[in-house]
Homo-oligomer: 129 residues x 2
């Protein structure tokens, strides 16, 4: 369900945050669902428990999860509409899309193929709504 790349240049905790946000956006994680304990997920992935804990902390600070000693970590929201966060999100998404499309174009992918990729992702997140 969660996959990471140990030899990627992007930090593991960032990858983990991305994976969980993906699961949330896909609707495969619902409010009330419990996340695996940090030790268990860390062991499964072969990383340190602090790395997983950091990901959980960032998700918690984003208002998506709630963590507590002994209690575990649970999803409490699937959206973070924190006031002006939407404006920042807009810019962030814009540059992410721009970078991805530039990457694709320079790699020589055809316009049709790129459109297919984008369409596929849209359907993944908004098909059943």
């Amino acid at each position: 369900m969660i996959t990471i790349s140990l030899d990627s240049t992007i930090p593991i905790h960032d990858q983990l945050v991305g994976e969980f946000r993906r699961l949330i956006a896909e609707g495969r994680l619902k409010v009330g669902d419990e996340l695996p304990p940090v030790r268990q997920l860390a062991a499964d992935l072969g990383v340190n428990l602090n790395t997983v804990a950091r990901a959980y902390r960032e998700l918690t600070e984003a208002g998506l999860m709630s963590s507590g000693r002994g209690r575990g970590t649970v999803l409490i929201s699937t959206v973070e509409r924190k006031g002006q966060a939407q404006l920042e999100a807009r810019k962030r998404v814009e540059t992410s899309i721009a970078n991805a499309l530039a990457d694709a174009k320079i790699a020589g992918l055809s316009l049709a193929m790129i459109e297919a990729i984008v369409e596929k992702q849209f359907e993944k997140y908004w098909k059943s709504m």
Copy 2:
């Protein structure tokens, strides 16, 4: 023409590579165009010349630029269709798009707004072709 954020979590040399790839994809950098000397761009941006040099080196290793002492750095290609690079690019683009859309959805952006953002970027790169 090139803008970076000094307090972003993403490394400056990565930002620079992204900026140049964007300029290439937009068609604002053409084959034969010379890039600014590392010292000049570094001074303009307020960073170390090694940071710029590293970005140039990565772009050179990608087959897009050609650098040499005394000569400077020049754009030699706008595409890198290195055999199996397209397959890797496909995956990379797919996860980039997935992450961006998940980010947007969780931030509470409307589907219409996200579609507008994506459409705008497509036009930027493929309008005049």
